[in-house]
Symmetry: C2
Subunit: 204 residues, 2 copies
DNA sequence: ACATTTGTTAACCAAATGGTTAAACTAAAT
DNA sequence: ATTTAGTTTAACCATTTGGTTAACAAATGT
């Protein structure tokens, strides 16, 4: 049997690095802290990943590869726009609840270093909007949904699903709710967001 | 005549610090870089603001005080929900186009340090949702809009307006558009977003 | 059994970084 | 003219930080 990720050193490092990088970002993270969390000597980080930058990139690519398939699902399957929105919203919010730091981490680090996007963009499996756009146009032509540009609809879907997690502290302060109440709000959004979007675009 | 902000040293420091902090974050910013940008000696930063932390807080509060009034407008004036959404969306997107780093900066640093929110929350002028929530309930009862919780509608409005700026590099990569095309997308959103929200909530 | 490769550690290093100090400069007050 | 208070600078300092090294241990192959 092959060793699980937290049994071999490389995996321990990745786990620890993920945790530290995701909560403190590249600049705020300390190699020593990662080593401590992994329960190993700092030199091991460099033995396995050579530099902070490369360790970070390993963590980042890993994180991104969790996010991408979720998006491809909505973009490339064959269900109707309405079904896609329902499925995506529910699945995606469930997914982020399990990985709350993830969207913020990715967005934050992409803002810090635009070059990252290039390193991932040519990966196969990088989300592509073409099919989705065509489908939106078709359904609009058939009168199933109101006319809207595929890009704008896509941005709106992402925004409504992701933003509340990215801006959690801000929204919590404005709405003046506890952590528990916020969690409930997010739970409700699994269906509310889909209804909201569908109301916005369906033809009456 | 009183000296303008970039004529006196303190103002120069604040301008430089704002620029550096907003693009690199607290952890990524270097005091020397701020001093260089302000064209002064590093010791001056400490002379005027004592520490990096305090300089950062000055910049942060400043940034936040730009954002808050925009929100209060939608929350506390007396127009209908529909008008509020229209006005807010158009104004807010125009505002962010002028200060593109701002939302990301605030969100990012609030995620890094939850304590910040407490330091600002008791400021007068901190946005409060109560009136808005009441109004949403009223219009829902009158049948003007579909039933929706005030919090959820507020989150949706923020999400649709702010997210595209916060996640710009990510969305640009997914939608595969140039900087110029992205700018145009944002320009279009000034009206599109309002229509989208209103379609989602208005009673038919 | 022995040699070689792989994994691990403690000690170390140079550079960077936030912060301090003491002296010098400036301009207004006496 | 001299004092005084505020402003500015260059040099300095202690600590932190990413990264290296050399020695040691544990597998692995022969």
């Amino acid at each position: 049997m092959t060793k699980t990720r937290d049994e071999n050193t490389e995996g321990q490092i990745l786990n620890a690095a993920k945790s530290i990088f995701q909560s403190k970002g590249m600049d705020g993270a300390r190699m020593q802290e990662i080593a401590d969390k992994a329960g190993i000597n700092k030199a091991m980080l460099h033995y396995y990943f050579r530099s902070k930058q490369l360790l970070f990139e390993a963590v980042f690519k890993n994180a991104f590869s969790l996010l991408a398939p979720q998006l491809n699902a909505i973009l490339n399957d064959d269900s109707t726009i309405e079904d896609k929105i329902k499925n995506f919203t529910s699945n995606y919010i469930s997914f982020i609840i399990k990985h709350p730091y993830l969207p913020n981490f990715i967005i934050q680090e992409l803002n810090r270093n635009q070059d990252f996007i290039l390193k991932i963009k040519d990966n196969k499996g990088f989300p592509n909007l073409e099919k989705f756009k065509k489908q939106v146009d078709e359904e609009a032509n058939k009168g199933i949904i109101k006319p809207i540009s595929g890009e704008q609809l896509f941005i709106n879907i992402l925004a409504l699903n992701i933003f509340p997690f990215v801006a959690k502290p801000l929204v919590m302060a404005f709405a003046n709710v506890s952590d528990k109440a916020y969690k409930q709000l997010m739970e409700n959004r699994k269906t509310e967001v889909a209804n909201f979007i569908i109301n916005a675009i369906k033809h009456t």
